[in-house]
Amino acid sequence: MSAMALRSLNLPGVGTKYEFETDKGDTVAIFFTKTGSIQMYTLQKNCHTPSAAEMSPVEARRLGNILTGAIIEADQESVEIAFSALADLRITIHTFFVTSAVVGKTIEDLQIRAKTGATVIAVYRHDRNIINPPPTFVFEKGDAALVIGESDQIKKFEREIMVN
């Protein structure tokens, strides 16, 4: 693990730098600049010119989600949180845009919890968030649902509830 040693450094007037070298000898450096943007540099082993990408905080979080191994699709995203203290419990939170299969139905009708084990914890509708929708909640076209559960439960939700 020594190669993974992450160095963080405060650069006056610029921001904070995080850098680490991979086992294979490549280097990755991330800079959180004072301007608010995040720059990521990768430098291949034995190469002198790094390549860089500049990201907004939202884009950087998205990249972070991909790197943590959570499922991600074009306009849906998910976050996986691992609790190593709780027997490596891994909880996934995933957003789904509702499909025609669920429009007009309630959470109760769909038997989401019983069928998949996953829970709908919030629904995004018309620029507003509805937190903890009740079982009588009716899905509408254009809703985005935030579902929480273990990775398998989320996959089951995608297969069985969001069927087209």
Partner: protein, 377 residues
């Protein structure tokens, strides 16, 4: 008042254009001032309002510089920072001073020009590193710490030359006493300061503005110049929550400083008695002298002249601090010379910084090519 409104409008347009083209805005603010001021028909004239705005710009620039000197920022690689800092200081101060003195400036004028000649623009250097995506280069660290070193030297230099006719030792003791008092206030009032900064009403921003202005106004009673007072305040506040202070002082700095640059340009008079040879020589030397110090730093710190080229590319631009020096102490002739130097170096600098990668590759390829040619004989 109309002058100020016109100036602000022009700045806004210039800011939009320069940000869009990602080139530094400072030289264009000054040029706008020059073109619309004395040299260009007097559309812009200095008056009490513009004078007040400009002074605020200078005060907030220096307050920011003080805030940047956080105590925990003592570099881990002290030897490298010190070596590069000393090379940079000696080469540029000596070349700048010799040039100015030989071109006919007085001793004091030559000292001011030499300091303005020495001090690179921190703002432009850091922006160039970020915008040209060079942060990962090892030379970037050198450049960043060089800027910190230069700021420190500037403070010492400001302290020495602002002593004027006062006894230097007594003057420095006074500055240290002010710093001590402000430090103690910041230390014992830390909880209170942080509780103010944490609020989300008008209090944090009002407090920041008032603290800077009130501290500056004390200079009248203490015989310590405003510049020193606000730097000391910045240094003292840096021990509490510098990021919050930066955030609350930034709007003032951003607006006032832009006005400061424009009206500095207005006072510049290229038409009357400007010696183009002198101006051209100093501006050219300003580019060359940083090349020499950059190459030496590259060789000493990174063992490579190519690294030196990269350091040079990012430190050519002179800017805010050079102008601050010109405004605080310079005569009109000195001001004009420094203005031209800032305009030339910042434009040349931004161009070279953008294309330094190509420059380096070009030199490497040329070297390889020559090596191959030699082998074939």
């Amino acid at each position: 008042m109309e002058s100020l409104v016109l100036a602000l409008f022009i700045c806004l347009v210039l800011a939009l254009i320069t940000k869009y083209l990602s080139i530094p805005a400072i030289p264009f603010y000054i040029l706008a001032g020059v073109l619309l001021g004395k040299a260009g028909g007097g559309m812009l004239t200095t008056n009490e309002v513009s004078y007040f705005f400009s002074e605020m710009g200078l005060i907030f620039l220096l307050f920011f510089m003080g805030l940047g000197l956080k105590p925990e920022r003592i570099a881990s690689n002290r030897v490298a920072v010190l070596t590069s800092g000393i090379i940079d200081l000696n080469i540029n101060m000596i070349i700048g001073f010799m040039a100015a003195y030989l071109l006919g400036f007085s001793l004091m004028e030559s000292l001011i020009i030499a300091s303005a000649f020495y001090i690179s623009s921190t703002a432009m250097a850091l922006t160039s590193l970020i915008e040209n995506r060079k942060l990962m280069l090892r030379e970037s660290d050198t450049v960043i710490w060089l800027m910190v070193f230069e700021d420190l030297v500037l403070i010492i230099f400001l302290a020495i030359i602002s002593a004027g006719n006062q006894n230097l030792v007594f003057f420095l003791i006074k500055i240290l006493a002010v710093l001590g008092v402000l430090y103690a206030l910041a230390h014992y009032g830390k909880e209170f300061l942080i509780s103010i900064l944490d609020r989300d009403d008008e209090l944090p921003i009002l407090f920041t503005f008032a603290a800077v202005l009130i501290t500056a106004s004390f200079s009248l009673y203490l015989g310590v110049p405003e510049t020193m007072m606000v730097i000391a305040l910045g240094v003292a506040f840096a021990t509490t929550d510098p990021d919050a202070f930066e955030q609350h002082a930034r709007p003032f700095k951003d607006v006032f400083l832009v006005v400061f640059f424009v009206f500095f340009g207005v006072t510049v008079d290229f038409s009357g008695g400007a010696n183009w040879f002198v101006i051209g020589a100093i501006s050219l030397l300003a580019v060359v002298s940083k090349l020499i110090s950059g190459l030496l730093t590259g060789i000493f710190i990174h063992g490579s002249a190519l690294s030196g080229l990269e350091i040079w590319a990012n430190t050519i631009a002179r800017g805010e601090f050079s102008i601050a020096l010109a405004v605080i102490y310079g005569s009109p002739v000195v001001g004009t010379t420094i203005a031209a130097m800032v305009i030339v170096t910042s434009i040349v600098g931004s161009f070279i910084a953008k294309y330094s990668g190509i420059l380096r590759r070009g030199i490497v390829n040329h070297g390889r090519h020559r090596a191959l040619m030699r082998r074939s004989h």
